[in-house]
């Protein structure tokens, strides 16, 4: 399962999978093996040798002495790096920015044929360039950014219509 957790004003990507006797929890890619035991209003969490008691009250999680405000968003089953359009053509996928930054180059135009892994867009942040690849073989249906623009993390930069079964 995957969701976004807004916690004390910070937004984090959570992935959580059941594992023997517990969960594997990933917070923005950092992984933790966790066992959880819940009772009426508290959940006891064990991470390694540490035991933490979490009390959930409405939109607050109380952990030791700290009260953290949380909100949950965008719950989904899979862990896609590209989001599928709801409804519409089944094999149209959104390509998202891997990091916030400036678009230095757009390598493709709408209707261009692309192959899996081909660089669509080059982003730059903090003197480092990052290439955004095509998630599969297909045709570019939309390019939403232009060179020089600034994008936020996860902003949709293009959409690709994947060909055939590579859509999965």
């Amino acid at each position: 399962m995957r969701f976004r957790l807004d916690i004390d004003g910070e937004r984090r990507d959570i992935e959580i999978e059941p594992r023997a006797g517990g969960f594997e929890v990933r917070v923005d890619g950092a992984s933790y093996r966790i066992r959880a035991r819940s009772s009426v209003d508290t959940v006891d969490i064990r991470i390694g040798a540490k035991v933490l008691r979490v009390r959930l009250q409405g939109e607050s999680a109380i952990l030791d002495d700290g009260v953290h405000r949380f909100r949950i968003f965008e719950v989904s089953e899979a862990a896609p790096t590209t989001g599928r359009h709801a409804g519409g053509a089944g094999n149209l996928v959104d390509v998202r920015a891997s990091m916030p930054g400036r678009v230095v180059r757009v390598n493709v135009t709408p209707e261009a044929r692309v192959r899996r892994g081909q660089t669509l867009i080059v982003l730059e942040a903090m003197k480092m360039q990052n290439e955004i690849p095509s998630p599969g073989d297909g045709v570019v249906r939309e390019v939403r950014v232009a060179a020089g623009e600034t994008v936020t993390a996860d902003a949709i930069v293009a959409s690709i219509e994947l060909r055939g079964s590579s859509a999965s």
């Binding site: 890619g29 966790i34 035991r37 968003f73 719950v75």
Partner: protein, 509 residues
């Protein structure tokens, strides 16, 4: 001494320079780009001037804009910090032409140190051992092949106009040579406007050591070496002084050679001569013609304020340190805290810092460019803070650094603090067995699992939410369109109902 100084930089280094300058009674004028209107460094100045758009080329790298600010503010001198215009000979020359003292080396010395081939030649002429290689531009991959066969693989392409580790390409075998040559030329052209490359032998398991020098018209003083072998993609991440690999005899040789090298270049002000230490021999790497990021560790073990000395030299007031005063005491380490995510291949992580708490205490120094609420723009260097510790011995420094890294809390962006936690716990680091490719050779980044205490708490809360059945599948709706989330409503309903589920879901340990 100057009465008014323009500090032509941003972030932690602008703040650090202003601290000393204001201590000396100098009125400090800062500069900032449109993206830095709310930046912390503005508050460290007596006044500050906006110099253009967010892109470096429109502001901090724009000579005309910076000089206009200098004229408007009526300063006598310009301190360039590091990066940006600090090693630009044109900028240094223009400052002089327009009547400002450039706090750094003369333009001619900058031109010489910036041309890596010319610098190699100058070093050879001054009797400084240089790394095996060629002192000319390599024109084709065929020529490179001949040279590489002579000096033996692995070899390293370097940009003649390069710096900061950009434009370097290691080649392990002949088949990789031609593509590496073309790629490195492209990178050099894009970054420095000059595609020229030369070739050096790549030294396996070499250490990076460097000598800080202060030099005025009368004399030069070299300080105890810094070791900066912990690097990733030629970017330094951890520095320490003294080096665990340098004996007293080697130290005096390095210092003697470094001072002689800069004297031969007619160098003035603060500069650093970098060496590679390999098989108990050392060879010249390059001259860094600026105040360096890692200068605080030298300040920690010597007690010398390097910025104060820079300003004194530039003002013609002379060096205040005598060779007998440069004796060092104890051991210091610096960790560079970058807005990069070590778990996602060090991807840049600009954004807003929602919580910030820096470690403190005896022997702990934090040079930071940010605070709670700071927005880290994506346009500049990822360095947000430098954590420096100083203790009696290397072992005690490492222990102090581990504690200080753990106590450093920065939320809202990702930082490389987990990387520091990991490297500080390797046995190689503890033994002082360091080399420039150790981060990749020991797969340090791959060993990082968790991020830190705060992420652990987030993971715990996330697991608790799932265990308590507070997260369940539903249609995806983006945050912008959901002022009141379904989960929030569910939460309130659950509270109204007395909280919890009638039959709480159970999970066994």
């Amino acid at each position: 001494m100057f009465r008014r100084l323009l500090i032509a930089n941003r972030g932690e280094i602008a703040i650090r320079v202003a601290r000393t300058a204001r201590e000396m009674g100098i009125h400090c004028v800062g500069v900032f780009s449109e993206a830095d209107r709310g930046a912390l460094h503005r508050g460290a100045m007596d006044e500050s001037v906006e110099i253009g758009g967010p892109l470096p080329a429109d502001s901090y790298l724009n000579i005309a804009h910076v000089l206009r600010a200098a004229h408007e503010a009526g300063v006598e001198a310009v301190h360039p910090g590091y990066g940006f215009l600090s090693e630009n000979p044109t900028f240094a020359a223009r400052c002089a032409e327009e009547g400002f003292v450039f706090v750094g080396p003369p333009a001619e010395a900058l031109a010489l140190s910036g041309d890596k081939i010319a610098a190699r030649r100058a070093m050879s002429a001054a009797g400084v051992p240089v790394t095996q290689g060629v002192d000319r531009v390599i024109r084709s991959s065929d020529e490179a092949r001949v040279v590489a066969a002579e000096i033996g693989y692995p070899v390293l392409f370097k940009a003649t106009a390069g710096g900061g580790g950009i434009g370097m390409a290691r080649v392990d075998r002949p088949s990789e040579l031609a593509p590496a040559f073309e790629a490195a030329r492209g990178v050099a052209l894009a970054n420095f406007g000059n595609p020229d490359l030369f070739l050096e032998k790549f030294l396996r398991r070499a250490r990076h050591v460097e000598i800080q020098v202060l030099i005025d018209a009368r004399r030069g003083v070299g300080f105890v070496e810094r070791e900066c072998s912990v690097q990733r993609r030629h970017q330094k991440l951890v520095e320490e002084t003294p080096s665990p690999a340098v004996s007293r005899a080697l130290r005096s040789r390095l210092i003697e050679v470094a001072v002689r090298a800069l004297q031969a270049m007619q160098y003035r002000n603060a500069g650093t001569v970098e060496f590679l230490l390999h098989d108990r021999r050392f060879t010249f790497n390059e001259v860094n013609a600026r105040l360096q990021v890692e200068h605080p560790i030298t300040e920690a073990v010597t007690g010398v304020d390097l910025v104060r000395q820079q300003l004194r030299i530039a003002a013609g007031d002379g060096l205040e340190v005598s060779p007998s005063e440069v004796a060092h005491r104890g051991h210091a380490i610096e960790c560079r805290v970058n807005a990069e995510d070590p778990i996602r291949n060090f991807l840049p992580s600009p954004g807003r810092i929602v919580a910030y708490r820096a470690p403190s205490g005896p022997g702990v120094r934090v040079d930071s460019g940010v605070a709670e609420g700071s927005v880290i723009p994506p346009f500049y260097d990822p360095l947000v803070a430098k954590l420096i510790v100083h203790r009696r011995s290397r072992t005690l420094s490492i222990e102090q650094m581990r504690r200080s890294v753990d106590a450093f809390e920065i939320r809202g962006i990702h930082t490389n603090l987990p990387f520091h936690r990991a490297i500080l716990r390797t046995s190689a680091f503890a033994r002082g067995d360091l080399w420039t490719t150790m981060v990749t050779d020991l797969r340090i980044a791959e060993r990082i699992r968790g991020r830190g205490p705060w992420e652990e708490r987030i993971a715990a809360i996330a697991a608790a939410l799932v265990a308590a059945d507070r997260v369940s599948m539903g249609p995806t709706f983006p945050i912008e369109r959901s002022p009141t989330s379904k989960w929030a409503v569910a939460g309130r309903q659950s509270q109204l109902a007395g909280g919890g589920h009638a039959v709480p879901p159970r999970h066994r340990w």
